[in-house]
């Protein structure tokens, strides 16, 4: 759909003169011969985006075929009711996979904070970890 800039601005309650500056700048960049007598001049806009960081791909940890007789940590990152959510998940394992041992831990500090001490414990004593859960 083509949009009439003047009408768009008027619909927004703004003066079309607002963009006069950009047009003036734009005209300075125009190749008038290419544009032709009646064509609206073309201009070049710069990309406003910053620089995202490079991504280092991380492999998933090796899996094992079964959870039988394994210890699973359940890490609550601290959102409301996460503890109850994991209580019910522990109940599910007790009723459905009784050989699985589950250990509940609430991550230290506020939800965005790191907890290296807990991560060390989980890696030492656990076979796997379930982390959650959000609002």
């Amino acid at each position: 759909m083509k949009i009439n800039r003047r009408r768009l601005l008027q619909a927004l309650g703004m003066s079309p003169a607002l963009l006069a500056g950009s047009t003036a700048v734009a005209e300075g960049k125009t190749n008038k011969k290419e544009a032709g007598a009646n064509a609206e001049p073309k201009i070049v806009g710069l990309n406003p985006k910053g620089m995202p960081p490079a991504i280092t791909l991380l492999p998933l940890a090796p899996r094992f075929g079964s959870l039988d007789n394994k210890t699973i940590y359940m890490v609550d990152i601290g959102f409301n009711n996460g503890n109850v959510f994991f209580q019910e998940m522990q109940r599910w394992f007790r009723e459905n996979m009784p050989s699985v041992k589950t250990i509940y831990r609430r991550k230290d500090g506020d939800y965005p904070q790191d907890d290296p001490k807990l991560w060390a414990e989980v890696k030492t004593a656990g076979a796997a970890v379930i982390m959650g859960v959000g609002h």
Partner: protein, 441 residues
Amino acid sequence: MGIPTSPVVTVAFKQECKTNAAKRGMPRLRLVFSPHPVWGKSPEQLWGYMNGPDPATQKPMMQEVINALTMPLTAADTKTGKETPSVGPPTFEPDTAKNLQEFYRNNGYTDFLPIIIPTEEAVDEMLKGTSHHPDELVGKLAAGGGTEAFAAWTFTVRHAAINAVMAGAKPEHLPVILAIASSGVISLISSTNDLAYGALVNGPIRNKLNMNYGIGALGPFAHANAAIGRAWTLVSKNLGNAGIPGETYMGDMGNTLNYLNLIMAENEEASPWEPFDVQHGFKKEENVVSMFSGLSVSAGQVGKGSGVGGTPHFDQQYVDLFYNFTGFFGALLLCEPICANSLKEQGYDTKEKLIDYFYKNATQTAKEYRDRNWSYLFEYGQALKGVEPFATWYKLPDDAVIPKFPHPNRISVVVIGGSTDPVSQVANFSYGKSVSIDKWM
């Protein structure tokens, strides 16, 4: 983590988690989703979640958890190496101004209002506003603010200038925009809370830029206030990759302040007190911008005791206005000059004395404190670690009376306004940091 891991997240965050995991180098992370929300649900309801489907796949949720932890890895799951994300070419294909308006808008580069197209000439002109090299790195911005939830992007002086042009700023505004951008404070944070951000300018630059700190100081009555505020929003979107709903922005209903942000200049001339930046260690002749974050601004009511023949008690009135505030977000009193001078006549000869009054008189019960979601979310974890006053507040009896704010430094006072009516405003905003503008001249 080094061992099989299954993040379980409520489905409202599906896209945010998938995108963020990929940008953190784990595009194949085995995410499992539960129904949303968990908050407020009974054990019986959550038991139902355990026995129901993952809403993203419609397969049994707990089976998805087990699969995530046990299913063999594919070659794609173990891929390593580095990837450099692209944000597109440095310049776009030549087009008409009208088409470029749509192009910038449709690609998420704008705030959905018309922009000034950032041509090379316009950006070069903008760059005359600073002595810094266009390629100099300014800083980092991340959609999660200081939480490290999202990887930070970097940007140069030129990047900031491009966004300043788009916002309609003038070259003389650029040092303030650069100072704000360099602070690392993003104005569109990923949080589910509808957060808003503020920037307070102190120093002679307020007058040099014709910033409005008088009549209508918070309204649309000054180019500098408007352009600086708008530029901050565009900087946040384009230089920090913030503000993509469902991906890097999760604010439930958003915040109208996010359009231009709470841009303030202190009315130092009408204030009976030290300027805000001087309170924080700067000299009066320095140009400084101070950063705030919070939720909203509330219009004040005329002071207690201000009826016919009465004596206004603005101090008590402001305490009343703090009633629904949480200590976590703090309080920012936007003190109208008549009120400020009246308070000084009543004995508050420094802002600190007024803040001390607020700290001692704005109170709550321990139960009211503990019943707040934000107390649990942001401070209960600290309480468990023994951080005061939260550790004590979580042990007190329900009816114990405690301060509303955990520390006086959560309360700020700024004088602003045009002395037409003794009505101040309050914002549940807390002060973060102050940054030199002079550095970016």
